[in-house]
């Protein structure tokens, strides 16, 4: 569910296929938890029974469905933790001190026979510090997507705007200009239909359609599945066209390198002030449909000033996806972003190779010693 407007995302589909049931969306976890907890609530003694094997050791969690094992990688200073991307899924939990407490808790139960006095266990209360951001589940998926793109030199952009700003036309023209020199893949987000993905495929590049169903934005989990489906090649450009909405997509990190907001001159020039969140989150604003400026009352300078009031670092490129005016600056920006991402990947690989060389040298030196 969207934590900004409260819409549902339980019907999300990637290329017409449901996401795996156990993890169909970030939001559906709430429904699932609710169901589980009702089962647990009916019979606390059963829960305690199933939580312990006869030896009193902690057994798999009760009535909570299959829980994937999860890997942790702790930072050297012990703070924070990282989940393996494939295993993040719905599983969320607090911090290391809680892991430490679990065995002790199992012992507490071990002294109460199953089906015994439930009240004895409830008299023990304790405080758990979790300090978890309400959007943390999405952010974990986004971090995994970002890492994947960085490792492969993929320059990923999240294109956001109101409906009808010309995102898909802009994408088609961009693809036509770049496809000879750059591998491009596209993720299309819409509530319904695969019309946009079909328009993109007609240009000859790979595109995956995500239908969000009741949802008003893409989230990092859906995008992770779409990346699986697309498997964009190394050093490619990944364009993610978000659902047309200037509110909710601002809050959901997808793991992109940048958000690019598209404002067309047929909209009001005060939109950056009315929907500041999106203009604040973006790195670049494309001012589209400038070929229509003679026919509309849109003040370009005013719009740019309003946008920079909420985001002083915002870059702006005026262009027209219909005529191609201003496109050279946009293509240059894309080219520079792709090259920077590819250079980062090469430097990371070179650093890893150097490190392997050093370690091998150390190893052979210690073997000789």
């Amino acid at each position: 569910m969207c934590t900004t407007c409260g819409c549902g995302v339980g019907e999300a589909r990637v290329e017409g296929k449901d996401l795996p049931e156990a993890e169909s969306s970030l939001g559906s976890g709430s429904t699932r938890s609710l169901r589980q907890s009702q089962e647990v609530g009916r019979s606390p003694s059963e829960m305690r029974y199933s939580a312990l094997d006869p030896a009193g050791r902690q057994a798999p969690q009760p009535a909570s469905g299959p829980r994937p094992a999860h890997a942790h990688r702790h930072a050297a200073d012990g703070s924070g933790h990282w989940h393996a991307p494939a295993q993040v899924r719905q599983h969320e939990h607090g911090h290391d001190h809680m892991h430490g407490e679990a065995p002790q808790h199992a012992d507490e139960h071990a002294i109460h026979p199953a089906g015994g006095n439930a009240a004895a266990a409830t008299s023990r209360s304790r405080l758990l510090q979790i300090e978890e951001d309400i959007l943390s589940a999405n952010d974990a998926f986004a971090a995994a997507n970002r890492q994947r793109c960085v490792e492969r030199g993929i320059f990923a952009l999240n294109l956001v705007s109101s409906p009808g700003s010309g995102k898909t036309t802009l994408l088609c023209r961009t693809i036509e200009a770049l496809r000879e020199t750059l591998a491009i893949a596209v993720i299309e987000g819409d509530q319904q239909t695969s019309r946009d993905a079909e328009r993109i495929r007609a240009t000859g590049v790979r595109a995956v359609q995500i239908n969000t169903g009741k949802g008003c934005h893409l989230d990092a989990h859906m995008v992770g599945h779409a990346i699986d489906e697309l498997s964009p090649p190394d050093d490619s450009l990944l364009l993610i066209e978000n659902v047309g909405n200037l509110v909710c997509p601002a809050a959901f990190d997808l793991g992109e390198a940048h958000k690019v907001v598209i404002l067309s001159v047929t909209e009001g020039d005060d939109k950056p002030l009315k929907y500041p969140g999106m203009f604040h989150a973006a790195s670049l604003m494309l001012l589209n449909k400038i070929d229509l400026l003679p026919y509309v009352a849109f003040d370009v300078e005013q719009a740019v000033a309003f946008a920079r009031r909420v985001n002083p670092a915002l870059q702006v490129i005026p262009l027209s996806a219909a005529t191609g005016e201003g496109f050279a600056a946009w293509l240059d920006w894309l080219g520079a972003g792709c090259r920077a991402q590819q250079t980062d990947k090469r430097e990371t690989i070179a650093a890893l190779r150097r490190r392997i060389g050093e370690l091998e040298a150390q190893l052979s030196a210690s073997a000789r010693a």
Partner: protein
């Protein structure tokens, strides 16, 4: 009415934390809500009661720690109180004011049994 979905995310977070330690009931939840986070504490209280129904947190007390908005004005370089995001600086009237506090939207702590 986004407080409803926020409340459901909170319930999901606290239930997962409680389950990880095999706790059976959540009796109190502490939230840190910044003044600039666009959450109305009263609406959150109302929704929390509804969202916890039938969960481990049913009947739990909700404690909201409100954090005042604060920002750094790029114009006059002062740290100033900030009532709303993207407002002009209350000291000099300039723009922009970078929020430095009060954007929190966090589950801080819970009491479990």
């Amino acid at each position: 009415m986004h407080e409803m979905s926020l409340a459901m995310s909170v319930v999901e977070l606290v239930e997962n934390a409680a389950r990880a330690g095999n706790y059976r009931r959540i009796s109190t939840v502490w939230l840190e809500i910044g003044q600039l986070s666009a959450v109305e504490p009263e609406a959150m209280r109302f929704c929390f009661a509804a969202a916890t129904r039938g969960t481990l947190a049913e009947g739990a007390q909700l404690q909201i720690i409100e954090v005042n908005g604060q920002g750094l004005c790029f114009n006059c370089q002062q740290t100033v109180p900030l009532a709303a995001l993207y407002d002009p600086c209350p000291a000099c009237g300039g723009y922009p004011v970078q929020p430095t506090g009060g954007t929190e939207m966090r589950v801080k702590e819970l009491e479990v049994e």
